[in-house]
Subunit: 345 residues, 4 copies
């Protein structure tokens, strides 16, 4: 039984961590922080946790957090980098769901996020928490930077092709659609149901913060520059990401062979599931689960390959993947607490 703390428990990734961890057999949640809701019962704000989570939100306190074995940051960008150094110094394992430690190039981070990174010296030691590609490093990490939701779906879809050099690194396109929970639990006009319901739009086409993160991951694998166009869209549903990925094959290879590449790469993976040739991926089939489902198509046999990759943005795209990382770091079964199947319909 390890002691776990959650910093920033009032957002959607925070409540999702609570939902998952409350049923984890090796975890005791000892502290959940919230500045705005300090003193309030967790289950008052989240009645779905009644009868299970009997905690009160407390203001963030380093001393108390230092008594945890693992601390999750489910905070807006810019918070974890303030508090992580003290926790790491005390030997606490830190799993950050925000973007603070995702980019290896601090200058790029400062260009897309905040003017000054608070602890650039820690960035190098942070392990990017995509288990399917960094499992061993995660196992030995003290600080894990969990991938963003879009980067998870896009990388799991593209990486097997780049790993084997099967697609042209120029002209990659990631047309990605997200449910509104990706915008977080913030009072904003754009995600009101009257605005986002029954409508569909692209946003941040000029440049979204997840672009440099995706690019970093693809280039690390390709070992060369990658030219990617990434267009995120807001979809009138709550949970789910559907990435439609386009790349041009560099060699004459059949869809069946491509399928075998994915099967080989992910066949042993607990949470990445390659659908049969001809199938389509549907976000409802992973809703509430930690799975990524991938489908492969080669329309009209042309050399443009289409990869469909779906996840639940709050589970495999955030809190589920964070728990998966924790399981690896702590030597638990990798799917402990994560066996839930998708809620369909």
């Amino acid at each position: 039984m390890i002691k776990v703390g959650i910093v920033g428990g009032t957002g959607y990734t925070g409540v999702e961590l609570l939902r998952i961890l409350s049923k984890h057999t090796h975890v005791e949640i000892v502290v959940v922080t919230s500045r705005t809701d300090a003193g309030v019962n967790v289950s008052t704000i989240y009645p779905n946790l009644r009868r299970t989570i009997n905690l009160v939100f407390s203001p963030p306190d380093i001393e108390i957090l230092c008594q945890c074995d693992v601390v999750f940051f489910a905070t807006p960008n810019g918070t974890a980098m303030q508090m992580a150094p003290a926790l790491l110094a005390k030997g606490v394992k830190v799993i950050d769901l925000s973007a603070d430690f995702r980019l290896k190039n601090v200058a790029v981070w400062e260009q897309w996020y905040e003017p000054i990174h608070a602890c650039p010296e820690l960035v190098a030691s942070a392990v990017y928490g995509l288990p399917e590609y960094h499992r061993e490093a995660i196992a030995n990490a003290q600080l894990v930077a969990c991938p963003g939701c879009y980067p998870t779906a896009v990388q799991l879809g593209f990486l097997p092709l780049l790993e084997l050099g099967l697609i042209d690194t120029h002209g990659l396109i990631a047309d990605v659609k997200s449910g509104v929970s990706g915008a977080g639990r913030k009072a904003e006009l754009a995600t009101l149901m009257s605005e986002a319901g029954e409508s569909f739009k692209a946003y941040s086409v000029h440049g979204h913060r997840h672009l440099p993160e995706i690019q970093q991951g693809l280039e690390l694998m390709a070992q060369q520059p990658v030219e990617l166009t990434f267009v995120p869209h807001l979809t009138p549903m709550i949970r789910g990401i559907h990435a439609t990925l386009y790349g041009r094959l560099t060699q004459d290879i059949s869809l069946t062979e491509v399928y075998r590449v994915y099967q080989q790469r992910y066949g042993q993976e607990l949470f990445v599931d390659v659908l049969n040739i001809g199938a389509h991926a549907d976000t409802r089939n992973v809703r509430g689960s930690n799975y990524c489902q991938i489908a492969l198509h080669q329309p009209q046999g042309k050399n443009t390959l289409v990869v469909l990759s779906v996840i639940d943005n709050l589970v495999k795209g955030a809190s589920g993947q964070a728990v998966q990382a924790m399981n690896i770091m702590c030597g638990f079964a990798e799917d402990e607490g994560l066996q839930a199947l998708a809620l369909y319909p």
Copy 2:
């Protein structure tokens, strides 16, 4: 480990049984039947079950079903009554999610359902599977008739008042709203997203089949005739039932006292949760879980009491409650397989 069969596995209550039972520690699912999809992999139709359910739909076969310890019927009305006698004769426990054995008065059943009941002699021995009110009988039952979704929400809300005679049995009103999954997985115009989405309507106001079932339950408790107006509505969401119940208090009793009555009645119940005075019940807080959440109001201190009762129609209103009954019948922990928290947001 008991052997379980599911008859009618291609509907929403069938797939929900599969989702729940696949994670049940004492259950092995040995057969899932479907006439229309016999020979097809279960996970082809339900990709959310991939990697977990490795079964093929088979045509219903009494011989094979007789080898089960428990057989669930997730079939349209009229099927269970054809097959149950043979299974019961072999000592199999039968849990029927359809309406075949819910009404004690066979004549009333034949008026609302089919002209002729196939085995009226079994009706008396069937136990109505509402654990909060018939736990002991369920424990000893061989045949359980699971309550309908509307009747579950309405009865859990009204019964504590009728048990103590606190409301007038005349003029009860149940204004109930259901998500579209309650209509089942059937190709019909009325539940197309283009028809049911972004719209709200009442239906079957002249008389819905769940009316006699609710009335039977209320009258059994009240020990006198009950005059109930029941109006079901179709709500543009997938899962969830919200019952708004109105009754007139027969005595001068405060809302606090009413709250205590519910606390006393349900305080020990694992799956019925009475919210604090002033709170409202929200279907999202029980989505995907086996909970019923109840809130109590007495607007403007008048003598009309308002009870809000929410469930997930496919879990506490169907498959979850059926598994709860199985747990009781088989001596398992009552919440085995049912600990999942609601998926929020």
Copy 3:
């Protein structure tokens, strides 16, 4: 061609006024005010009005508004009462979509809204803008208080019964469901799509501001006290109100006779449409239109009558009804600008 001003043009009732009035043959919109968005093009915030509305939001300025023939207030409660006196003094017709002038009893208004009403002396002269019941007074009014959305649906449903004394004035129940646009265009957690989507809940069951307004209208008609329980609900759709109304018949009267009462009352009305016996009302059939559709039921022939009344909360429940009032006040055809049919599907 009359000159029209709109105060508070950035909310949903404001944009709806713009949509309707921009196609009105006798209206020129000369000013649209907004404190927060002053200086911004209207069509920048509302791209659906591009190519049609070529105006810039201006700060509210009494002098400019006084040059209008008609001024609409699509403002939060408490604004119109500040500005109306000056406009009325200049002979401008004022149509207020907020609640400032709806309640005749100022003390009740101050209890439910703000501590002090700014111009109680005007309340008596304000005409309640429900054309089906106050057409003549509206025609002669200088100040019209448009009914709230819930009150419109509930009163149109209940009033014919109270007019003839057909139902008991005790124990009336209005169980009403609204789409989320009723909450306005405000950045709030509760109406985020992640919160309000795929969920259903009652709210303000202890007492909603529309209760005294409804009660005032019912009592005016009944000429005696009315005991009403009003429970509003939030429905996961954008537009639409569905009122399910329950009353007990005071005499032995058939549903056919009740139907004739409604036909007689509304047969000549342009915007109230009584559906055939047996039909159900569906909010999608009035979406975007100024119609109220009403259906009548008498379940199982008992003496509880069920009236279903649906409107689009932003049209007949707000801006459409306001334009209908303007048409009457200005002697235009009552349906000028309001002929649009519901957008289905």
Copy 4:
């Protein structure tokens, strides 16, 4: 006043034609056919048309249809080609919303649709009803083939670039998202709200029937072969298409210059509206209207251009565009009956 007939009035494009044409000042709808609903009042099936459409569905009868000036086919593919010859022979103008006359190459049509085209000799004379590119031909046509919904959004977005040779004709990508009404009013599992709600998926990635139609239009403009990957997706909303189009610029041209190209091309068009640079297109802003809104982006200044093109699939993507064609054919104002603004929110 012209006499208009509608063949196939019970689908979504049929009811949309009725909604639009019922308010058209130069049109009298004299006949609406339906095999399945013959004898039924139109407003019984479509209560949104009550008080406006007073017609009964009749079985299709060539003699009666021949008395019309214009006949619309809102039928499934394969019907118009059976009946059009007789109507054309009598001088009736025929506007076909199905795919029967869209493809100039009959062999390609027979490959994607039905084995044998019933009147291949008429195909050459059919005019493709995209007014922005074939206005003059439409004005002189007797038979118009209305574009499909996807082809409308994609072509309006891509054609200005191909017209001037600004993008590479290889590697064009059209990632397009449609609301569920595009699937029509058919009782099918896939478009049930429980299946299509709260979920997102691609479909027919291997090849959708609109591909050859789009390709034909793009190649006609480019005057050379075009290599296009077209991936349609099903979005959990009722109305709307959002096309995200990707092409590689063939020359060093700024986004501002591209914007000017679109402004020049569409500046005089009544129904195509180019948004300012930096803006995004949102389907809600064209919901219920005949507009196409287009936004242009060049992410990170790379040479991949991103065009966002949104329409309402049932209006500009079907019935609205068909009425636009009729207006042109009959010499009416092109926007007669089509002035409705988008219904927002």
